[in-house]
Amino acid sequence: MLAPVFFFCLFAGTAVLGALLVITLRNTMHCALALIVTLLAVAGLFVAAGAEFLAGAQVMLYVGGIMVLFLFVIMLVNLEREQQVPQTAPQWVLGLLAVLTLGGLLGVMLLRGTGRWPAAVTAIPAAVTGPGGNSERFSMELFQHNLLAFELVGLLLLIAMIGAVVLAKARGTRIEE
């Protein structure tokens, strides 16, 4: 049973490494590419945890949609000048201290809480994979018990889309019919 451990470590290591690159690289375009690596590795982690549908949604939605939007905007606003100046905000020492405190608290919580939840689950439970696979279980649960929330999320996306169009539209210009 070495394969699950190997793949978990591979994906987790890639995700954390990519995340570190996102916050350290100077060129915004390189940051976006590192973020794509992280998102793909997280999709791998989802597969390892038995969430195949969510992994597919992650690849399609994040890598295929959100990151393309990011790359588009980077190409739209990227200036050579922006990369010559320091990329770190003046309050970085305070920020780092705050996050170190937060990390310490999370570490304490993990150390003290590990024994509190039931013993480690090593196999993916059958209720998650289900008789018809993860996608069937997922959609059954989604459309039988969370239909209202699903519709509301659709409404939220519609409102966000309208808001984005209104905000990004140049002032005084009219959208041609």
Partner: protein, 101 residues
């Protein structure tokens, strides 16, 4: 060594902490938005890990909703950035201080 919930939660905590560092220390608004994506992904890892822990798909459904939220947030955030860039010609958060003083 076996992979349990603890390891997943650990990865989630690491990603969230790295994302927080990015939000607090970078100047470029685009990188700040990317760090927010990192934090949201850390949340999703935790949700999937506990969905696996308890053998239920509710966590994964919540994860899908968070992904939709992230998409909405990025769309509005990037539109705001474009509107700001049109007025100030900068993508640095500390130069967008129109409401300060």
């Amino acid at each position: 060594m076996t992979i349990g919930t603890t390891q997943y939660v650990l990865v989630g905590a690491l990603l969230a902490a790295i994302g927080c560092v990015g939000v607090l220390t970078r100047r470029n608004v685009l990188v700040i938005l990317m760090s927010i994506e990192l934090i949201l992904n850390a949340v999703n890892i935790n949700l999937v890990a506990f969905s696996r822990q308890w053998g239920q798909v509710h966590g994964q459904i919540f994860g899908l909703f968070i992904m939709a939220d992230a998409a909405a947030e990025v769309a509005v955030g990037l539109a705001l950035l474009i509107a700001l860039f049109r007025n100030k010609a900068t993508v640095h958060a500390d130069e967008m201080d129109l409401l300060k003083w």
